[in-house]
Amino acid sequence: MSQEKQTVTVNLGPTHPATHGVFQNIIELDGERIVAADSTVGYIHRAFEKLAEHRPYYQITPITDRLNYCSSPINNIGWHLTVERLLGVQTTQRIDYMRIIIMELSRIADHLICNGILGVDSGAFSGFLYLFQQREAIYEIFEEICGSRLTTNIGRVGGFERDFSETAVLKLRRFLAEFPAVLKEFEALFDRNRIFMDRTIGVGAISAARALDYGFTGPNLRATGVDYDVRTASPYSRYLDFEFEVPVGENGDTYDRYLVRNQEMWQSLRLIQQALDAMPNDGYHVAVPAFYLPPKAQVNTVMESLIYHFKVVMGEIPVPVGTLYHAVEGGNGELGYYLISDGGRCPYRLHFRRPCFIYYQAFPEMVIGSLLSDAIMTMSSLNLIAGELDA
């Protein structure tokens, strides 16, 4: 009998229940230990950057929906903020507060999925079910605000198409009243759960220095102890009006990532509550007629409105020439838009800085030497979204 050491190659993906998306991990196993890993991405690449070069600014918003589809509103608003910055538009306090409410709701929805699924991957299904009820409540609020749930296409350049309706505020207040108890229950299920702790503590750990080297951002970076958050480092939308904390972890392992996400949900709740209470009434959109779609009723009856509608949709509007980068704190990290405008109807070049495309390269380094089942937990806790990974 040969004494030669044999390894086994296992394919996780492209379609595998543990990857939660379309990407492939080729893992070489020596028994249960991982000795080598490699990742293949690009299975749902849709050439968004090429598409964006052929679309007027407004028609790019639906593209951004499909990046991180667990928190589409953040992507939409990030894009609108980028265009507003290019145009030099000054938004009102109400718009900013409405945006903060929507962005923080989507951050909660994003973290709910990540932490819920993390529980499922460790064999605990019930937490996920409790949380998904609340995600449904968030999607109902989105539905009330903009009419759609997952790919929201929410808001416009210069504000919103309509104010929060009474029902929306009612649903929002109900969510704020009900969610804390559910989150508390979820934490009670997991935080000190022996099985969960054994499965996550020390699993998929990365040091702060390595995380920075690999361009980590968002909760994954903060779990290593670096307090970098775009909301405070390069503030936008008057985040500084409110009191909130940036939770950080210590060890950068799966457990810390889980804790940071949970803490961020509490901070998001704080932000929403403050924004809702302090919301002034100074208009839900600003006067940027060249970019603001006129009311639908007028489009059907007033000629000028029809002309404007046509011009806005077709992008027949002059824009300044310029190069800029604008970033927002997305659900899983810094979501940036690098935009070059040559004054034409479409961007000359638009590059999306997708957080998970950049930090996913660290995956082999994080799992080599660990068990196969730990690799599943690590992958789950990184909050990889295939749509964003592949653009």
Binding site: L51, T91, L212, R349, F357, I358, Y359
Partner: protein, 176 residues
Amino acid sequence: MALTNLALPMATLEPTPFGTAVSETVAQHFRVLNHVLQYGNWCLEVDPTAYYAVVQDLKHTHGFTMLVDLCGVHHVAEPASLAVVAQLHHLPERTRLFVTVQLPITDPVIDSLVPLFPSANWMERETYDFFGIRFTGHPNLTRILNEDSMAYFPLRKEYPLEDQTRTDKDDRMFGR
């Protein structure tokens, strides 16, 4: 153009004093062809031979510890060129700095940043994949998002959005 968005604190609209100081120091020590202010961030256009040294200096001397983003741009205006834009971030000073190089379209070759920043690995592969810019010293310069058998670089401007030879579409009314 006027920048009046008060939603952003002035610190992000105007360059930080730190950013200005660093870009001036770098301009003194290296072959910096141009430095311009882009909506509050300094962008240094450097000579391709100095690119690696500038990024190394920014990382080790000035403390820009994070490579946030790296992408390519195809400039079609004569003389046509391919550009690489790298964005570095100094976290404590909250300063972003862009370093860009212009490469001839006939032979776009530039040093890889992977020895300095492991995060450059996939970003440079993506740039190669879409623009055909070759990074010397890259450990695995292969296509990443597109299929390997592709014979062209799709984000270059000469490549149309869709196959122009398609015959199954009637483009008389809504042609692009």
